[in-house]
């Protein structure tokens, strides 16, 4: 049971000025239930196109995309686009969230009930906001409504394209809690993000892309242990890892808990607890 991209290649359609560019080349990726995969790379490396291929929104020129053994079709996989709040359209928040289930044939009443549940699941009160216009919401609320609209499809595979773009600390905290909850529910998640400092502590696996190719993929711990892999994808080493490198502590000594540091950055020192500890040998004298 997984979402598998098998040697997928995709070329953009040719335009008035140029032949179609190769966006994704021979990419392989597998999303497993209850895991979060981070896809990162420089702008134009093919990350968003890879997500669209995984969602069945574009058809690969070569290779295949399978969801639980079946060829992928639109709406088989949930996808949250960049700035999803800009795609809200309905008269009321409730109707907007119910749009997907209605398209899938769910009766109106059931879809609206589901919409209320989904609004609650993203921390919004349907009694308060359900009948409001989606255009009267704050930016953060609109983002949550848009995410609720995708969650309402009740898919086992969810794709997020730059989910933290433009979010403040509270918005990022919400995203982190959402990812944790979805993973605990056995949902397979793929996230395209440039926000490596935020995402790395949350994910299980990482795929690095460069010029349309997946140049490296593996456990997040493997990437954290070898920050030089980032340069293979043309990326800057995330500041937490760079900090650790600067301290010269990659081989022992002070070991920063990057998960805790990320937590601290969002929630404050007291909530996060100690940021790291010092081994008996190495570069520090004190504790924590």
């Amino acid at each position: 049971m997984s979402l598998v991209l098998d040697h997928v290649t995709y070329r953009y359609p040719s335009s008035a000025e140029s032949a179609g560019a190769l966006a994704v080349r021979d990419a392989c990726l597998e999303l497993e239930p209850g895991s979060i995969t981070l896809i990162c790379g420089v702008t134009g490396s093919g990350k968003s196109t890879l997500l669209r291929l995984a969602a069945g929104l574009v058809t690969p020129d070569e290779g295949s995309v399978q969801v639980d053994g079946e060829p992928v079709k639109p709406a088989m996989v949930g996808m949250v686009f960049q700035r999803p709040e800009s795609q809200l359209f309905a008269d009321t928040v409730r109707q907007d969230v119910a749009f997907g289930p209605r398209n899938l044939g769910m009766p109106q009443e059931d879809a609206l009930t589901l919409a209320d549940d989904m609004l609650r699941s993203v921390g919004l009160d349907p009694a308060e906001l359900g009948e409001r216009s989606p255009f009267a919401l704050s930016g953060g609320q609109a983002r949550r409504v848009a995410i609720a609209g995708v969650l309402a499809l009740q898919r086992r595979y969810l794709l997020f394209d730059e989910p933290t773009a433009g979010l403040d600390g509270a918005g990022k905290r919400f995203m982190r809690e959402l990812f944790a909850r979805l993973r605990a529910d056995g949902i397979a998640i793929a996230v395209v993000s440039h926000d490596l400092d935020f995402m790395l502590p949350l994910v299980d696996r990482v795929a690095l892309m460069r010029a349309g190719r997946v140049v490296w993929q593996g456990d997040a711990a493997g990437l954290v242990g070898d920050p030089y892999l980032f340069s293979r994808a043309g990326l800057r080493v995330p500041s937490l890892l760079a900090f650790q490198q600067d301290l010269g502590c990659m081989d022992g000594g002070l070991s920063l808990d990057v998960h805790r540091v990320a937590h601290w950055a969002l929630d404050g020192f007291d909530a996060a607890g100690p940021l790291g500890h010092v081994h008996s040998h190495g570069c520090g004298d004190g504790e924590d």
């Binding site: 574009v58 686009f81 800009s86 749009f99 255009f135």
Partner: protein, 269 residues
């Protein structure tokens, strides 16, 4: 994936049309459109079609590119043909073929509808060729130059030219935005391709609302950004002042002559 509307796009090529001064091209376009509406015979229309194909050849642009711009107009073209070709008085019109009681087809009207549809197609081809071969900035400068004398009548020429260039710039942006929203709604199970016409039209509501909201927001942001960079619309100078070459002047003179000939023909008709 890409929802491409070629109308309004500039296509970089090395050609005589690309090198031609934008004012001369505007004069050519105006003359062509004048001729398009002045002539009423199929022979003249055939000559104008040939002229248009020749112009596309000169500009090194495939005519199929402009044909793509016609796709959204298919309904309008069909409506033009049908509204001229169908009648509710088939019994009293000579040559009409009755289908249901007095409702029927007028062969002459159908032919006239095709004539008007061809005229619309050529109009799109001609205006598309102008934007394919002229950069928006050059077009704006040309309009400012042509409309310049109206400043004495307090016509906001500079603002009009800026608005025109922004409109041209927004065409591909709007197309990209439509594509983006359609893809997002398709991911939520929306179906734009199947079903009866009314159902497909209804399916466009979830696309048009966010697109318009997004466009208004973008327009508002653009206005603020322009104001914050001290845009006033008045007294603007040009880094590169367009200069007409002798060949451009010759084209303008020929256009004037052609227009004069067309006016004479219309008066004498």
């Amino acid at each position: 994936m890409a929802f491409q509307v070629p109308f309004g796009q500039y296509v970089a090529r090395e050609s005589a049309l690309h090198r031609m001064d934008a004012r001369a091209k505007l004069a050519l376009l105006a003359t062509y459109i004048f001729a398009l509406f002045a002539f009423k015979s199929w022979y003249a229309m055939a000559a104008l079609v040939a002229l248009m194909l020749l112009a596309y050849g000169l500009g090194h642009i495939k005519a199929s590119l402009a044909a793509r711009a016609l796709k959204p107009l298919i309904l309008i073209l069909l409506f033009t043909i049908l509204v001229n070709g169908l009648t509710f008085r088939a019994d009293s019109i000579p040559g009409a073929v009755a289908l249901i009681r007095n409702f029927g087809i007028k062969p002459d009207g159908m032919l006239l509808g095709c004539f008007y549809a061809l005229r619309i197609c050529l109009l799109i081809f001609a205006t598309s060729l102008l934007t394919f071969t002229t950069k928006p900035v050059a077009l704006t400068d040309a309009l400012t130059s042509i409309l310049g004398p109206l400043r004495v009548l307090h016509v906001p020429v500079d603002d009009m030219a800026t608005m025109f260039s922004i409109v041209l710039r927004f065409i591909p942006i709007t197309a990209a935005q439509i594509d983006q929203v359609m893809t997002a709604q398709r991911a939520r199970g929306a179906n734009f391709d199947d079903g009866p016409l009314m159902q497909r039209l209804r399916a466009l509501v979830p696309v048009l609302v966010p697109v318009f909201v997004g466009l208004f927001r973008r327009a508002d942001d653009l206005a603020c950004a322009m104001e914050s960079r001290c845009y006033t619309g008045q007294g603007r100078t040009r880094l590169n002042v367009p200069v007409m070459r002798p060949v451009d002047k010759l084209v303008c003179a020929l256009c004037l002559l052609a227009c004069a000939a067309l006016i004479t023909m219309l008066i004498l008709r």
